[in-house]
């Protein structure tokens, strides 16, 4: 039956095409299909990367095309790595990255655990919880700016209601101490649902019979949680951490909308600083070196992390 279908298809194929295709090896056909993608990858990703690395050793400025470009060796790298301001930006980025991930993982997992229980209105609650991640970061930034407003903002009034601290006596976005936490809160609000969804997928992938076997063995709920749920959801959680880590390392829009990097530079994350160097100051060579450093950092960390993830999955 199969042979007759193949024979019929071969008979219907025009002889010239058939001959041409027949003359090509499988590898050649594979290359033909893959070539456009490889070409695009080279043109859009690899070439700019190589070009950026090359520019990072020069004093090139994209807004001064008439200016002679000088080869400056490692000077850009040296200036970046010895710049206190940039290390402060890195610290701000690390603070944002670590705390958003911690909160999102804890709250996301807890929410997933609750949503995974069967109860009335489960689907409705899931929809409501995932709403924030469907909004545009610009919109989220804008309305949280109003929520944080000391005179009319809901957050300050809530703080006053619960603690008695006058609402207009503090500014979440304007205080050096509070601003870094303000952006962590907003990002956590927006992206915890994403972590929750991934965790939910992990929880739902655990077969019921494992819990049933544990029940027969008289394992407590606590024990079941630590020996079944957590290990089996861990690869999913680690994946969520990877995604959020990469995203938040390059966080830009939300924070710009909320604080613009201020007050002073306390919320000026590395990506905001890089944008200022590249497209406001137009120090193209310098910012290329900066971009290379960030790329190597994120690529290195992600590679180590993926290895760890694979080990966990292999277990």
């Amino acid at each position: 039956m199969t042979n007759s279908v193949i024979t019929a298809a071969a008979e219907k194929t025009p002889p010239s095409v058939a001959r041409r295709v027949r003359g090509l090896s499988d590898r050649a056909i594979a290359w033909i299909f893959v070539a456009p993608t490889i070409f695009l990858l080279l043109a859009i990703n690899i070439f700019p990367l190589i070009w950026t690395v090359r520019l990072s050793f020069t004093d090139y400025r994209a807004n001064r095309l008439n200016r002679e470009v000088e080869w400056v060796g490692l000077r850009n790298y040296e200036r970046i790595l010895t710049d206190d301001g940039i290390w402060m930006n890195m610290q701000a980025t690390a603070h944002f990255l670590v705390w958003t991930i911690v909160f999102q993982v804890l709250i996301g997992f807890a929410l997933a655990y609750l949503i995974n229980k069967k109860f009335k209105g489960n689907a409705l609650w899931t929809t409501i919880i995932v709403l924030p991640m469907m909004l545009s970061p610009a919109v989220v930034g804008n309305f949280w700016t109003f929520l944080y407003q000391p005179q009319i903002g809901l957050i300050n009034y809530m703080v006053e209601f619960f603690t008695g601290i006058p609402a207009s006596s503090f500014s979440m976005l304007g205080s050096v101490e509070l601003a870094p936490w303000s952006i962590v809160i907003v990002d956590t609000w927006m992206w915890t649902p994403f972590v929750m969804l991934i965790c939910l997928a992990g929880l739902r992938s655990i077969p019921d019979y494992i819990y049933e076997a544990a029940e027969i063995d008289r394992a407590s709920k606590w024990r079941q949680f630590w020996t079944i749920t957590v290990p089996m959801v861990l690869p999913f959680l680690m994946l969520a951490v990877l995604f959020r880590g990469i995203e938040n390392f390059k966080m830009f829009d939300l924070v710009v909308q909320l604080t613009g990097g201020g007050p002073g530079s306390v919320t000026e994350l590395a990506s905001i600083n890089l944008k200022r160097e590249a497209f406001e100051k137009w120090r193209t060579g310098y910012s290329s070196a900066y971009a290379v450093i960030l790329f190597v950092t994120i690529f290195g960390l992600a590679s180590i992390y993926v290895k760890a993830l694979n080990k966990v999955k292999a277990r």
């Binding site: 807004n63 001064r64 095309l65 304007g174 613009g260 201020g262 007050p263 200022r276 497209f279």
Partner: protein, 439 residues
């Protein structure tokens, strides 16, 4: 049969006419910031459209993104704008990087004389290198940073009495920066008509140019200079002079004592909002907004009055305003120059002022009725007599961002001292000038 040649001739003539018309009528795009005067310019330009047959398109970008958007456009050689009303600080980059068309020959040919415009505006908006007769723009919109206040509050007898008792002088427009702070302190947290009000709204914005434009109002009033000798790039002792340190400390104190809560990232829009919502007694902003404020049904009319930036050691105001330039990447330069020729006419300049634009033409400014024409016209003239501008170097964006960061760190984030901020600023600026080969 005999009709055929006539018919052919008629068709040819019509085609030629249509062709020549098409060649003459262009669609010009004028780029500017999105604010009140831009709307006035749209109205004014209708006359140009009617006279020239060209049509005008406008690309107005909100102020916080204006510099970013337009400088990217210029740096990429974009053809979005045929005419650009660009900030005064862009003139150096516009000229040196070839973004703007040099207008000297055109001015000679069109009979436009720069002597017909206020010297401060020609110097600031048109020339590069500064002060030389090399023109890259026509002064389009004179502007400076000024102040406005709640005249109705100032005139209340109970407030007059309380102020007199506290400060030993009548509650009136401040004549020095220190007086301004006293008035701001007087109003801060006071109950007026059942509402808590605050002293002043000032510029504290971090992202673009806000805090620099605000703080220089104090710095210039104390006698701040960018260089010891103009053109020398010798900044030590000028930028961080004792007067400059005092001025910066003053601005920080004004921010801390007398602004509404959470006023950490405020520029033009926030200043207007604070005033229009009845939150503050005084506010700083560009003169360009004053016609709109005066016309405001809630806080305008007899409830508002205006004053020039008060002096401390010297009378000086922060320069705003822009010149209009022809973008060198435009393929409609002839039509764009035609617009400038039309715009430079004295009667058009008079209409420009009447519609709410700030003409820099002497025929408007020297008109005997000018000072009385608007309640802020006299202050505008006074301010324009003492304006000072930020660096106009091609590297102005780097210089500005460095100042934004240093000032915001000190004033809003409360990090370090004024002396450290200004010393650090010299370091930053020196690095920029060294990179640019100026030092």
């Amino acid at each position: 049969m005999r009709k055929a040649p006539y018919l052919a001739a008629t068709v040819a003539a019509l085609a030629l006419a249509a062709g020549s018309n098409a060649a003459q009528s262009e669609e010009l795009t004028l780029c500017w910031a999105a604010w009140d005067p831009a709307n006035a310019l749209v109205e004014l330009s209708k006359e140009f459209e009617a006279q020239s047959g060209h049509t005008m398109r406008f690309e107005f970008v909100p102020w916080p993104n204006f510099a970013d958007r337009m400088l990217n456009e210029l740096n990429s050689g974009g053809q979005l704008c045929d005419l650009l009303i660009g900030d005064s600080q862009w003139i150096g980059g516009g000229a040196e990087n070839g973004h703007y068309v040099k207008l000297n020959d055109f001015f000679d040919e069109a009979g436009i004389s720069m002597d017909d415009f206020a010297p401060a505006t020609v110097y600031a908006y048109s020339t590069w290198p500064k002060g030389t007769p090399n023109y890259y723009a026509l002064p389009a919109m004179g502007d400076a940073n000024g102040w406005f206040y709640r005249k109705d509050w100032f005139s209340r007898p109970e407030l007059q009495e309380a102020f007199q008792a506290e400060y030993g002088r009548p509650l009136a427009e401040p004549t020095t920066q220190r007086e301004l702070m006293e008035i701001a302190k007087f109003f801060q947290g006071r109950e007026i008509d059942g509402q808590t009000v605050y002293g002043v709204s000032i510029f504290t914005e971090r992202g673009s140019e806000g805090i620099t434009m605000g703080a220089t109002g104090a710095l210039y009033a104390w006698g701040f200079k960018y260089e010891n000798e103009p053109g020398s790039y010798d900044m030590e002792g000028a930028v961080n002079s004792p007067e400059a340190v005092e001025a910066l400390e003053f601005y920080k104190e004004l921010y801390e004592c007398c602004t509404p809560p959470g006023y950490t990232n405020a520029y033009m829009e926030q200043s207007l909002d604070a005033f229009k919502s009845g939150q503050v007694a005084m506010a700083m902003n560009w003169f360009a907004f004053f016609p709109g404020l005066y016309a405001d049904p809630t806080v305008g009319g007899d409830k508002i009055d205006f004053f020039v930036n008060p002096p401390q050691n010297v009378a000086a105001s922060t320069l705003g305003g822009q010149g209009i330039s022809v973008v060198s990447y435009s393929d409609k330069q002839d039509a764009a120059l035609e617009y400038i020729r039309w715009f430079a006419q004295p009667d058009v300049q008079a209409k420009w002022w009447a519609l709410g634009g700030y003409s820099a033409h002497n025929s408007v400014l020297n008109d005997p009725g000018f000072v009385e024409s608007q309640p802020f016209a006299g202050d505008f003239l006074e301010a324009m007599g003492g304006v000072q501008d930020f660096w106009q170097e091609p590297t102005y964006a780097e210089l500005l961002l460095a100042m934004q960061e240093r000032l915001h760190n000190y004033i809003v984030a409360d990090q370090g001292t004024a002396q450290e901020a200004l010393d650090g600023l010299i370091e930053d600026w020196t690095e920029v000038f060294e990179d640019d080969g100026k030092l």
